[in-house]
């Protein structure tokens, strides 16, 4: 009786969440193996089971494969930069005390509260060719001639760098905030003991701080990796996938194939692949976060 009543409290929220997530997911899983085929009896195309044909079409498409490597490359580079910079900033902030440091830390966490698409759109004014903040400053302060200024818009490499910079700008603060919270929850007795043993500076960092921080670091990396692989808003707002389709992310392709070309089979196959990758890394993150919770809050 008691357990049943407990579920009554949970059920509305659980049903709502699962209806919106599981319903569409099942739709995708099924449609990944379906494709329209002409049915002579009915005189019109009908959905038929086609096995792995949609997946085969995906693997045969060079543009789509390019977007896979591009997205994975951007995501991994972004995560490494975010975590390294975030850790450096968190260690610096951790050694500071007082009001100024707290205010500065608060300011630093502001980017992650902003809509990514607004940040990307704003970045178009920073990366604009002749008049943007970056190229304008390069020309004015460093005297870079116009023909040698980075071409943020029409060069695929520089466009990718711009997207990467926006991603890193927005999410390093997240790594900073989480790692700082992790540092602050470390037991101070260990530091007293290590100091008595003569540890200081780098050896303290290497042998006490970082090992203690490891569970938090692992969770941060996994969460950021999962989020980065979903990359959509920033390329959409900043480059629209251009020049050409050079910076069109994997998620942007799914949207275009599914809702512009209405090739639901191919879009579903691609969605299913993304889901499998994210679900496996996500499960790992959840499992590790459960462990980290017992470390940081125990």
């Amino acid at each position: 009786m008691r357990t049943l009543r407990g579920y009554l409290w949970v059920a509305p929220a659980l049903v709502w969440t699962l209806a919106i997530s599981l319903g569409p997911t099942l739709y995708m899983v099924v449609h990944a193996f379906l494709a329209p085929r002409f049915d002579p009896a009915a005189g019109r195309p009908r959905l038929r089971w086609v096995g792995f044909e949609n997946f085969a079409r995906f693997v045969a498409d060079d543009q789509l494969l390019h977007s896979v490597w591009w997205t994975v490359g951007v995501a991994c580079t972004a995560v490494v930069l975010e975590v390294v910079l975030g850790l450096a900033l968190a260690l610096a902030a951790w050694s500071l005390t007082g009001r100024a440091a707290r205010v500065a830390g608060g300011l630093l966490t502001m980017p992650m509260l902003m809509a990514p698409v607004a940040v990307a759109y704003l970045a178009t004014t920073v990366f604009a060719q002749d008049v943007g903040l970056i190229n304008g400053s390069l020309a004015r302060w460093l005297g870079v001639p116009p023909e040698r200024l980075p071409n943020w818009r029409s060069d695929p490499v520089w466009a990718t760098v711009a997207i990467l910079l926006v991603e890193v700008w927005q999410w390093t603060p997240f790594c900073f905030a989480v790692l700082l919270a992790g540092l602050a929850s470390q037991p101070s007795e260990l530091y007293e003991a290590a100091r008595i043993d003569g540890a200081a500076g780098w050896s303290l960092l290497r042998h006490v701080t970082l090992p203690l921080l490891r569970p938090v670091l692992v969770v941060v990396v996994l969460i950021r990796l999962v989020e980065s692989l979903k990359l959509f808003d920033v390329p959409y707002g900043l480059t629209r996938g251009g020049p050409g389709t050079a910076t069109q992310s994997y998620s942007m392709w799914i949207k275009e194939i599914g809702l512009t070309r209405y090739d639901v089979g191919l879009a579903s196959a691609m969605g299913l692949l993304l889901l499998v990758v994210l679900a496996s890394s996500g499960t790992m993150a959840l499992w590790l976060s459960k462990r980290a919770r017992s470390v940081t809050q125990g």
């Binding site: 407990g6 008049v131 969770v219 959409y236 976060s289």
Partner: protein, 288 residues
């Protein structure tokens, strides 16, 4: 921000601390202050000053409200702003109404066969679903049943998107309330629902409010589902911000104004509840 007990904090002003302080404040300056000032300055410039690196108002350029006036008079901005408010407030309200009882049950009751921790994991795992995977089928279904480009559809979807965060944050708020108070209320004749509404909920109010503000910010910033489920009538503010004509190097004043309008509400909400925000984003791994 959490209390800081640094590894160097007992040793006075060592060279490392100087280096850390200089590096940290310099980083904050480059990271936040420079782009922030640039954006605000752009929003108050006249069109002829927008394409120049002028920073100091009155000395280097004559500030004006022209971009603001123009943007705020745009009917599509007003429509999308109103839609964003309706969707975010609607989704937040629904998520709190559904999420608080669930979180309370997960904090207090013994659930079987799936325990409270595992039920929580079911909620949390939703955060890993890529929004496109959910939104493309939802858009196809919505088009079929006539919910495409309707605010209702967006509210329903956003509610599901923010529910996991609401459950996670309010559950830890309920866990911080001592259960003895509710037991006393039950002994005095309160029903279970009464104990929840009259005792637990008021005591957990700060956590519930924080969850609400975070849910509001998430819904406000959400882009992928809003892009696929709306076309014109039900567009939200992030879509308006992104949908505009080609702007590279053009009309930078209006770009800045639009982005400031889109970015300010969640900033205001988020600064108030930072530590809860961290807890939510790390799936509860870090308390913040």
């Amino acid at each position: 921000m959490a209390q800081q007990t640094g590894s160097f904090s007992h040793t006075g002003l060592t060279p490392q601390r100087w280096l850390a302080a200089v590096g940290f404040y310099l980083a904050v300056g480059v990271w936040i202050i420079v782009p922030g000032c640039w954006t605000v300055a752009q929003a108050f410039k006249q069109p002829r000053d927008v394409h120049s690196l002028r920073w100091i108002p009155w000395l280097e350029y004559q500030p004006t409200l022209a971009s603001w006036r123009e943007t705020l008079a745009d009917p599509q901005l007003r429509r999308t702003l109103r839609n964003s408010v309706i969707v975010s407030v609607g989704a937040t309200t629904l998520a709190l109404l559904l999420g608080c009882p669930a979180a309370y049950a997960l904090a207090r009751f013994r659930l079987r066969p799936l325990g409270a921790e595992d039920t929580l994991l079911v909620f949390l795992s939703q955060r890993f679903l890529p929004p496109v995977v959910v939104a493309v089928p939802l858009a196809l279904m919505a088009q079929r049943v006539g919910l495409y480009d309707r605010l209702v559809a967006l509210i329903v979807v956003h509610t599901a998107f923010v529910l996991p965060l609401v459950v996670l944050i309010t559950r830890s708020a309920f866990l911080d309330v001592p259960p003895e108070l509710e037991q006393a209320a039950r002994l005095d004749g309160c029903t279970m629902v009464g104990a929840f509404v009259r005792v637990a909920l008021p005591l957990a109010a700060p956590g519930v409010a924080a969850a609400g503000l975070i849910a509001f910010g998430f819904s406000w910033n959400e882009f992928v589902a809003a892009l696929m489920l709306t076309q014109y009538r039900a567009q939200t503010l992030p879509l308006f911000v992104a949908s505009s004509e080609d702007t590279w190097g053009l009309d930078m004043g209006r770009v800045a104004v639009r982005c400031l309008i889109a970015v300010l509400p969640p900033l205001a909400a988020g600064v108030a509840v930072q530590r809860f925000f961290i807890r939510g984003l790390t799936l509860g791994a870090v308390k913040g």
